[in-house]
């Protein structure tokens, strides 16, 4: 038996368990509960427009904050000595190994109205904040859970930059700001882009964070899909249509992000 045929069972497996399920989603999205072809599922989505907008907006905000917080960390980390770098990297990865639900649950006790944050604020004499069950709480939960996914890809790109590139730029008269702008940033862009994908996709589709920290007051696409498959509004056809539109918009968004990144590289080259 030739080794190239080793993959044949898995190709069949993928056809059944990877490709077919996606076809099922497409078929369900275009049928009525009785099995007739229809477009009504997509028409019915109109009333969820605000949920679509909110999902993409909150995921966008969380992704932007992750870049703003994560980029400097990745950069600082790459300048540390090798031993400290390794240790810090471990420390950033470690929370990711803790169950996602528990990490989110931890924020419930911090953010709730009688929670630790407000107890601290009133202790130092500041007015308390109403954060739990608001979009702010959801964004905090997203940033907390997905920040390492932004730091790691950026770090792994920056750390590979050849030291002689810096020296060459400095020899040619570039100051630190110019070196960053002309050397580090363009080279690190692919890392930022993969970070964006790794944060944006789980953020836009989450229903755990919205249910734990949004308390059902901040509905997002994930909640909508969950509701139509497992919840009170059981309607897998409509749920499939929502999931399909979500996947479609995410793919378009990713395509645009990649294109934008690609052009940037050409300009700086």
């Amino acid at each position: 038996m030739k080794p190239k045929y080793f993959a044949i069972p898995y190709v069949v497996w993928m056809a059944i368990f990877v490709v077919a399920p996606i076809i099922f989603v497409i078929v369900f999205a275009f049928t009525t509960p009785d099995g007739y072809p229809t477009l009504q599922n997509f028409a019915a989505m109109g009333r969820f427009t605000n949920i679509f907008i909110r999902s993409f907006w909150l995921a966008f905000v969380a992704t932007a904050i992750c870049i703003l917080i994560g980029y400097p960390i990745a950069y600082i980390l790459s300048r540390e000595g090798p031993r400290l770098q390794k240790l810090m990297l471990m420390l950033i990865i470690l929370p990711m190994w803790m169950n996602f639900l528990l990490r989110t649950y931890a924020w419930m006790s911090i953010l709730e109205n009688t929670g630790l944050l407000n107890r601290f604020l009133s202790f130092v004499g500041l007015p308390t904040l109403n954060i739990i069950n608001t979009p702010t709480a959801v964004v905090i939960g997203m940033v907390y859970n997905f920040l390492p996914f932004m730091i790691l890809p950026i770090y792994s790109v920056i750390v590979k930059i050849d030291q002689s590139l810096y020296e060459a730029a400095q020899d040619l008269g570039a100051n630190n700001v110019t070196v960053f702008r002309k050397v580090v940033f363009p080279v690190s862009l692919p890392g930022v882009l993969s970070g964006v994908m790794m944060v944006f996709v789980p953020a836009v589709s989450t229903f755990v964070i919205t249910q734990l920290l949004g308390g059902g007051m901040v509905m997002m696409l994930g909640d909508l899909i969950e509701m139509h498959f497992l919840g009170t509004a059981y309607n897998p056809q409509l749920g499939s249509a929502i999931a399909l539109v979500m996947m479609f918009v995410v793919i378009i968004f990713m395509y645009l992000v990649n294109r934008f990144g690609g052009e940037e590289k050409v300009v700086t080259a």
Partner: protein, 274 residues
Amino acid sequence: MNKKPGILGRSYTALILLFLYAPIAILIIFSFNSTRSRTVWTGFTLDWYRSLFANSSIMDALYTSLIVALISAVVATIIGTFAAIGFHNMRSKWRTPLTHINNIPMMNADIATAVSLSLLFITLGSVLRFRLGFGTLLLAHIIFNIPYVVLSITPKLRQLDNNLVDAACDLGCTWMKAFWKVIVPEIRPGIVNGLIIAFTLSIDDFVISYFTAGGNIMTLPMQIFSMTRRRVSPEINALSTILFLSVLVLLIIINIRGARQEEKQKKRQAALNK
């Protein structure tokens, strides 16, 4: 430019680490709290650990999670190893599109994979007369684990010198023998990594399990989800502490293993260069 980060950079790093660890520290601290409150410290107790181990629904869920993770990791590693070797030996005309399909479950949102699998299982179930349960849960875990196994083995196959296999065959090995004596030992680190990744992903998964397990069976993350939605119980905190410590120990073991492997590699390289 090669300067190390200054005091400003270091304090920023410290701040981020505080942000990452404070919530976990709070969870751990309140697992020893003597009342149900998760914000007011009232005194030290180990009661929540005792009631955690006495809680049969949590222990059942833990058992289910471990069984599913173990079986799905082993099965996914076997299928994934053969798949990776097969892909590696294909022409790129075939390999490229197949690799893209293999990547779909990793790129897609969890909930999209979850929904599509649940539709498949429900539809097949109505034809073949089965219901969502342990079987579909296990199958779903195998399905989402395989791509990660393939991903961790492929680079090792690229490093593999094809002449080694040819040499083994010239020396009278059958292909099967060459497979076991040459290929498997060479790619073993990739296989072990794949197994570990698959196991941890499986233990950690909530979304896909939630959609494919049906109503009668619960994994640990599903149990945690239902607990967070009901009354507050510090048993969750006790559970968090135990899980965090196990992860910490596991990560330390993996790191030591990795360091040893590097050492071996270096020695081997040095021997070859002599």
